[in-house]
Symmetry: C2
Subunit: 117 residues, 2 copies
Amino acid sequence: MSDHQEVPVAPVGAHEPPYYVAVFTAVRTHDQSGYGETAARMEELVRHVPGFLGMDHAQTPGGLGITVGYFRDPDALTEWRANSEHRAAQKRGIGEWYESYTLHVAKVERSHGFRRP
Amino acid sequence: MSDHQEVPVAPVGAHEPPYYVAVFTAVRTHDQSGYGETAARMEELVRHVPGFLGMDHAQTPGGLGITVGYFRDPDALTEWRANSEHRAAQKRGIGEWYESYTLHVAKVERSHGFRRP
């Protein structure tokens, strides 16, 4: 099940550092056939990666989309990077769905959160 | 000048690691009076921080917003964190604008980008 399109109650919270973030920033093309199904499938798949901690996604209509994946350690990132369905989706993204994107993989050194009481 | 509301041509590109990302994920309250002016002012201020590399922002209507700031080194982050106008804005955010948020500060270990030819 995917909640990719649903409004979240709250962003993913702070975990105990160190952990990793994969920050994917993208502008999409006009040809988005198949994108929604693939995005939902990727979200389903990544949840099965040991060490996956959660995901946040925001999309400005007609503009930039940002997806942040949170992972416990480098092994979790490696497993997700090596996933064959994920690799096939990446190729299709370059071929069809993305006008431009950047991926930043980073080790979290500190974090904190706020929830309104 | 702020381009906070404009559609970007492309996300901020990959820089040579190491550099830092500040990933701010937030759900806002219904009371947004003064938010737009303050966000624009913060964007103007952060551009003057030595070592500031850029910023990406995406906002799902009625949902999650994600802002990613890119900084060359910890000194740049420290300067931005210590800025008095920024601190005042953070207090107002907690008091009025944010239902919930999380901040993750992380050191980028690798990055890459794609631009459609």
